[in-house]
């Protein structure tokens, strides 16, 4: 049997541990770069939902530095484009802080920074493709189709327009007519039922009967009986008169209402004309607005892109040092990290300062940033980014300043830019002209309070501008606009932004629109006038018939007024005939008897 080895310690174990530790150390030294590179590419891509490529990466644990070459971050919404591309990033990190899981970089050098560059191969998608159309693309498309070729002066025939358009006048007239017809029927029924000719004939007959009876009166009881009949007859006639007067009052109200409707529909053809003129004619009174609308589409695309960057950066700049641990957030197998207040609080991530070189418009600009951290409140200094460039082939001067201040409860961000004499590359203005040359002075400033309240303005002053007509003009209007632009050598564009990053208004003003409108107005006023007169006549012709029918319906209501007047006068005549005096006046003793009976009439 093997002798028992019951010694408490084995010295060889220390050697085995040392060898194991050494092997692990060598493994790390040999493969650390690859491990970090893979971690950035795989885990980094999953976190930001966009492909990250690292060309090369080398780490030096002794000098505590890292050098990353050709870093590419793809645009998740446009896989053949890189959102950011960096030639080289070199930085030193604080090894002591790294032990506390803090990434603190004192100095960083970023070279060859480029934005929105085409990728050699499309990136792998990390998030489902968005089903919503890109707002920028939409506005770009809109701008190129709606304003690509300005509407010429080949106005549509007014008759064709009316065939394809529904006139409000006709719709309202139809309804009014049917309402008036209903009213007319109502009155006809009322008059027929309550003021029938038969009832009038009956009253006349009763008067005749009473006259005949009065001739044969022999005793006081007969006289009393006839006076009662006279009284009943008078009551009936009076009721008829009351009904007529009541009808007259109601009819007046209905006629007033009908007249009101009739006068309202008379204004509708003008309303229809205004609508169709706006749609089919050219409103040159406020300028063509072509340039403003053409500029606003692509500009909105660029602003939306900038908001995209802003929204991506913002969450990383929010202080989370005060967050309370929540037990339900535990991820299976991973647990939850509890944060404790530190006697010397310090952000988990900080780049104190970095020197940057960026390529913009194919020109190098130098700059830098300070204070990029995940916890600005703890760090106590806002993030500053500056770029400057001067005197090169493309511009005389370039300045960009960005401040993201999250050190207080309310975020206050500022973006300022100034570019002097920026050489303009040919800019197509729809299909009718091209701004082929020129220089732009750009000044802009945007303030964002609390990441929501956006206020900004910018001015672009273009000088030394040369416009060229693009190919053959599609129509007369294009030709005129093209030739007018040839005479323009300087103009300005002013813009004001207000709202929130998600919903903002961009108003653009440019003197170019005024110049164009003035010229176009002069040339085309006559044609526009003729078109508008023809349109007005056509609308009048289409609506005249129905309008007169509607007015006729009002007139037919007036007829009832006449009928009621006649009825009233007839009834009053009958009432005067149906008096005791008229019917019994020639009977002896009737007057004394009447006095005795104290009849009320």
């Amino acid at each position: 049997m093997k002798p028992a080895n019951n010694k408490k310690f084995r010295v060889l174990g220390i050697a085995v541990f040392a060898v194991l530790a050494g092997l692990i150390g060598v493994f790390f030294v040999l493969f650390l770069d690859g491990i970090i590179k893979d971690a950035i590419e795989e885990q980094g891509s999953s976190v930001i939902e966009s492909q990250i490529d690292v060309g090369s990466l080398s780490t030096s644990l002794l000098s505590q530095s890292m050098d990353i070459g050709n870093l590419q971050i793809a645009n998740a919404d446009k896989l053949d484009e890189n959102l950011v591309q960096v030639g080289r990033i070199k930085f030193d990190f604080d090894g002591n802080r790294a032990l506390s899981k803090k990434v603190i970089i004192d100095d960083m050098i970023v070279e060859g920074l480029r934005l929105n560059q085409k990728r050699e191969t499309p990136a792998k998608p990390y998030k489902p493709a968005s089903t919503e159309p890109e707002s920028g693309k939409e506005s770009e498309d809109k701008s190129s189709t709606q304003f690509g070729a300005p509407q010429g002066l080949d106005f549509k025939n007014p008759k064709d327009i009316l065939e394809n358009e529904t006139l409000e006048t006709l719709q309202v007239v139809k309804k009014t007519k049917s309402d008036l017809e209903a009213l007319k029927t109502k009155w006809q029924t009322q008059v027929d039922q309550q003021l029938s000719k038969e009832s009038l004939v009956q009253i006349q007959q009763r008067i005749k009967d009473l006259q005949a009876k009065s001739k044969n009166l022999k005793n006081p009881s007969a006289i009393q009986s006839i006076t009662t009949e006279i009284q009943a007859l008078r009551n009936d006639i009076q009721a008829r008169i009351d009904t007529i007067q009541n009808f007259k009052k109601n009819l007046e109200a209905d006629i007033r209402q009908a007249k009101k409707l009739a006068s309202k529909i008379k204004t509708l053809p003008q309303k229809d004309f205004d609508r169709l003129r706006k749609k089919y004619s050219l409103d040159l009174k406020g300028g063509t607005g072509l340039v403003s609308q053409m500029v606003s589409g692509p500009l909105k695309t660029k602003i939306d892109k900038a908001w995209g960057y802003y929204k991506k950066i913002s969450p990383y700049l929010k202080s989370d040092s005060k967050s309370e641990p929540e037990p339900e957030k535990m991820e299976r197998g991973k647990g939850q990290y509890i944060k404790f207040a530190s006697p010397n609080p310090f952000p988990d991530f900080l780049i104190r300062q970095a020197k940057l070189s960026m390529n913009i418009w194919e020109q190098d600009v130098k700059g830098g940033f300070q204070g990029l951290t995940n916890d600005p409140k703890v760090y106590g200094k806002p993030f500053h980014l500056n770029f400057t460039g001067s005197q090169n082939e493309v511009f005389k001067n370039f300045k960009l300043k960005l401040i993201l201040d999250r050190t207080r409860n309310e975020a206050a961000d500022l973006l300022e830019t100034q570019v002097d004499s920026l050489k303009i590359n040919p800019v197509p203005l729809g299909d009718w002209a091209t701004l082929s040359r020129g220089f732009a002075d750009i000044d802009g400033k945007i303030n964002i309070q609390n990441e929501q309240d956006v206020k900004g303005d910018f001015t672009v002053k273009v000088h030394g501008a040369t416009f060229a007509q693009t190919g053959e003009a599609a129509n007369e209007m294009s030709r005129v606009l093209g030739s007018v632009l040839k005479t323009v050598n300087q103009f300005y564009i002013q813009g004001v932004i207000n709202g929130t990053p998600d919903e903002y208004t961009l108003s653009i003003k440019t003197d170019l629109d005024e110049i164009l409108a003035k010229s176009v107005r002069k040339l085309f006023d006559e044609k526009i006038k003729t078109f508008e007169t023809d349109l007005k006549k056509s609308i009048a012709a289409s609506t005249a018939g129905p309008l007169s029918e509607a007015t006729g319906s009002v007139a037919s209501l007036m007829d009832f007024k006449k009928i009621l007047k006649t009825e009233e006068s007839t009834s009053k005549d009958l009432l005067s005939q149906a008096t005791e005096k008229a019917l019994l006046g020639n009977i002896p003793g009737a007057g004394s008897l009447m006095d005795k009976l104290k009849l009320p009439f």
Binding site: M1, P3, N6, F9, L20, L99, M330
Partner: protein, 164 residues
């Protein structure tokens, strides 16, 4: 599975002292129940190599406890969370985690803290329990072998084959 059982039986029937086997099981349980890639496990591996414990038992124990560790995660998380967020210990933890090594060891993670506390708390009673069980097992085993001369003969042959 069979190999695993053979390894356990071999360790139990070896001439090693019960404490060597028990400590192997205890160290294996710490390695298996706590997240493997943690700084404290480096210390455990170092101790396991320096202390003359049964390495086979440590490996088997580590494997077995790793299998049940995932199921115990919610319990470890709850315990770790309760300990780390206990108001009475706030001052202690603040001081403790101001030392970078504590953070590097991931001790502010609820599962690391919960599992480490559980395994360390269970280590001493379990050590003595396993000691007793090993001694009991060996008594029963030897008594069983003693009853059958054929088995005794095979055991001697087996040992002879190994050491000849």
């Amino acid at each position: 599975m069979l190999r695993l059982i053979i390894k356990v039986l071999k360790a139990l029937n070896s001439n090693e002292a019960p404490w060597q086997i028990s400590l192997g099981i205890i160290f294996g349980s710490i390695l298996g129940l706590t997240p493997f890639l943690s700084l404290h496990n480096l210390v455990i591996v170092f101790l396991a190599l320096v202390i003359n414990l049964n390495i086979s038992m440590l490996i088997v124990s580590c494997g077995v406890f790793s299998l049940i560790a995932y199921a115990l995660d919610p319990l470890f998380h709850q315990l770790g969370f309760a300990v780390l967020t206990s108001p009475g210990l706030e001052g202690f933890w603040t001081q403790f985690f101001s030392c970078p090594i504590s953070l590097l060891a991931n001790l502010n993670n609820t599962i690391v803290m919960g599992s480490l506390i559980s395994t360390l708390a269970a280590a001493i009673p379990l050590f003595f329990l396993f000691n007793i069980l090993v001694v009991k097992y060996r008594d029963v085993y030897n008594a069983f072998i003693g009853k059958f001369p054929m088995l005794k003969f095979l055991k001697v042959l087996d040992l002879y084959g190994k050491h000849s």
